[in-house]
């Protein structure tokens, strides 16, 4: 496979509480022959707190990073965190749409941004650039016990004019990637509902209530775990799951795993290499049964053709 390289902006959480997202992204891209290069001396994108102060100010905090990427001669920057992605994309869009806004932002920066960078999510790169076929080609191991609810969170594909990826109401990219990697994916009604976002610290009860609705729907979908692409969703649903059970009187015990950790498992990485030991609700019991992927796919084919034969036999009888 040809070596590909992307400029990759991790964002602050992936250095800390979401370190396992970082570990699994690096593992998966490495398996796919893709090198990720960090922009030198990147800073925080500003996230929600900055845009509650002022849009020029928030634009400058994000655009400082876009200017660094631009100076590296790249045209694309990849990030995993939807909040970073939204901040980078909004800053770019507003600057590209208005010369006055652009001038105001650049006035706050040492190094101006010239609007030459497209920010994309790691999910988008895997789905569109790498493609399902290449993602499927690296798979070695199947996990027949897992049934995954794909949870995208509120801003991964919304608003569509800004995020420019997948459907704003029924996104499917994560579903398709997991299926390509040999996982069973459930139909999930709460794909884009909000988990409570960044209010976990100041408004714990509100976040616990909203997250409990998402977890409830995971079970309702017949799934036994959830896949996420946002570290805030992961934190609210997993780290706070005991809090949810205490405040809401529930008894959830649902592993909530980054989609890149699932891909990494399918590629044969050990759970600890993907940071699966770092979650609150462990997934161990659901991944103890494994099977070589070829054998698993053959079984699925056979089950399918048996079903087909049965259906045909029924047709004949009728």
């Amino acid at each position: 496979m040809a070596e590909k390289e992307y400029i990759y902006y991790p964002g602050c959480s992936l250095e800390g509480t979401a370190i396992e997202y970082e570990m699994s992204i690096r593992a998966v891209f490495k398996a796919l022959g893709v090198t990720l290069k960090e922009p030198e001396d990147w800073s925080c994108c500003g996230s929600t707190p900055a845009h509650s102060v002022d849009h020029v100010f928030a634009g400058a905090l994000a655009a400082r990073n876009l200017a660094i990427v631009e100076k590296m001669g790249a045209s694309t920057v990849v990030t995993a965190c939807p909040a970073c992605l939204s901040a980078l994309k909004k800053a770019h869009k507003r600057m590209a749409a208005s010369e006055a806004f652009k001038a105001e932002v650049n006035d706050l920066l040492d190094q101006p941004y010239h609007c030459g960078i497209t920010a994309k999510s790691a999910l988008q790169i895997l789905f569109e650039d790498i493609g399902l076929e290449a993602v499927a080609a690296q798979v070695t191991t199947a996990f027949p016990d897992l049934k995954i609810a794909p949870y995208y969170g509120c801003i991964t594909s919304r608003p569509p004019e800004v995020m420019e990826f997948d459907s704003p109401e029924n996104p499917v990219s994560m579903d398709r990637l997991l299926e390509a990697a040999g996982f069973q994916v459930a139909d999930f009604a709460f794909k884009v509902e909000c988990c409570g976002a960044a209010f976990g610290v100041p408004k714990k009860e509100m976040v616990n209530k909203l997250s409990s609705k998402v977890l409830n729907m995971v079970l309702d979908a017949g799934a036994n775990c959830a896949s996420v692409c946002c570290q805030l969703c992961q934190q609210n649903l997993d780290l706070r799951q005991d809090q949810i059970n205490a405040t809401m009187g529930t008894s959830f015990d649902i592993p909530v795993i980054f989609f890149t950790q699932f891909l990494g498992l399918a590629y044969g990485y050990a759970p600890t290499e993907l940071g699966l030991d770092k979650h609150n609700i462990k997934i161990d019991r659901l991944i103890s049964t494994t099977m070589p992927i070829a054998e698993y796919r053959q079984q699925l084919e056979e089950a399918k053709s048996k079903k087909g034969k049965k259906a045909k036999a029924k047709e004949k009888e009728a």
């Binding site: 602050c12 959480s13 250095e15 800390g16 509480t17 979401a18 370190i19 001396d41 990147w42 800073s43 925080c44 500003g46 996230s47 929600t48 707190p49 900055a50 845009h51 509650s52 102060v53 002022d54 849009h55 020029v56 100010f57 400058a60 905090l61 400082r64 006035d107 706050l108 920066l109 040492d110 509120c154 801003i155 919304r158 608003p159 569509p160 704003p168 109401e169 884009v192 509902e193 909000c194 409570g196 976002a197 960044a198 209010f199 976990g200 610290v201 100041p202 408004k203 714990k204 509100m206 909203l210 780290l239 706070r240 005991d242 809090q243 030991d277 770092k278 609150n280």
Partner: protein, 188 residues
């Protein structure tokens, strides 16, 4: 909602200010309620988002800026995505929150305090230092043990750093804060 006297209680200048700062036209809203129907936060809001839009059309500055709704909105973008009039409602809520902060209306002190702790960390280090934000928030909100139950779940997993990551360009980041504050105070 109480009756509003539209003869002498309409702040037209406020409507114009929101229009200018957001670039959106609130008068396009015909009160279909689609935003409120999808809003995950509506059960916590004192005024549902469609009512905030109506209050805005009627220039009800004080009612809007003292509301909890403008602070409890998480910018999940559901309203913006579903508005049939293509109004960027989440952006209007953002602008209302910005104006509320600027003019000293803070109905949700803990949320503002959390945002301030975050920005304080960013200003000092160039990247946010998660442990520092929580400590800063807990001290200033006098809620010393907020989320202390989560401590044992993250310790020893390499998730929590006890010292901030200092970047080389932290002075450049601090300069963004400084220049922005200077510009704002010059404008008055």
């Amino acid at each position: 909602m109480d009756p509003i006297n539209l003869t002498d209680q309409v702040d037209h200048a406020f409507v114009e200010q929101v229009k200018k700062e957001s670039g959106e036209d609130p008068y396009l809203c015909y009160q279909c309620g689609n935003c409120t129907a999808g809003c995950p936060y509506t059960e916590f809001f004192d005024y549902p988002v469609s009512q905030v839009m109506r209050l805005l059309q009627a220039g009800q500055k004080d009612t809007i800026l003292t509301s909890h709704s403008v602070w409890l909105c998480a910018t999940c973008e559901t309203c913006t995505t579903r508005c049939p009039c293509e109004i960027d409602i989440a952006h209007i809520m953002d602008v209302l929150r910005i104006i509320a902060r600027r003019e000293g209306y803070v109905a949700e002190k803990d949320i503002k305090l959390f945002y301030d702790s975050f920005l304080n960390s960013l200003q000092r280090h160039g990247r946010v230092f998660e442990m520092g934000i929580l400590m800063g928030y807990n001290l200033r909100s006098l809620n010393l043990f907020a989320d202390a139950d989560l401590g044992p779940k993250v310790l020893g997993k390499g998730k929590i750093h006890f010292a901030p990551t200092e970047i080389k360009g932290k002075k450049q980041v601090a300069k963004i804060f400084k220049k922005f504050q200077e510009k704002r105070s010059n404008r008055g």
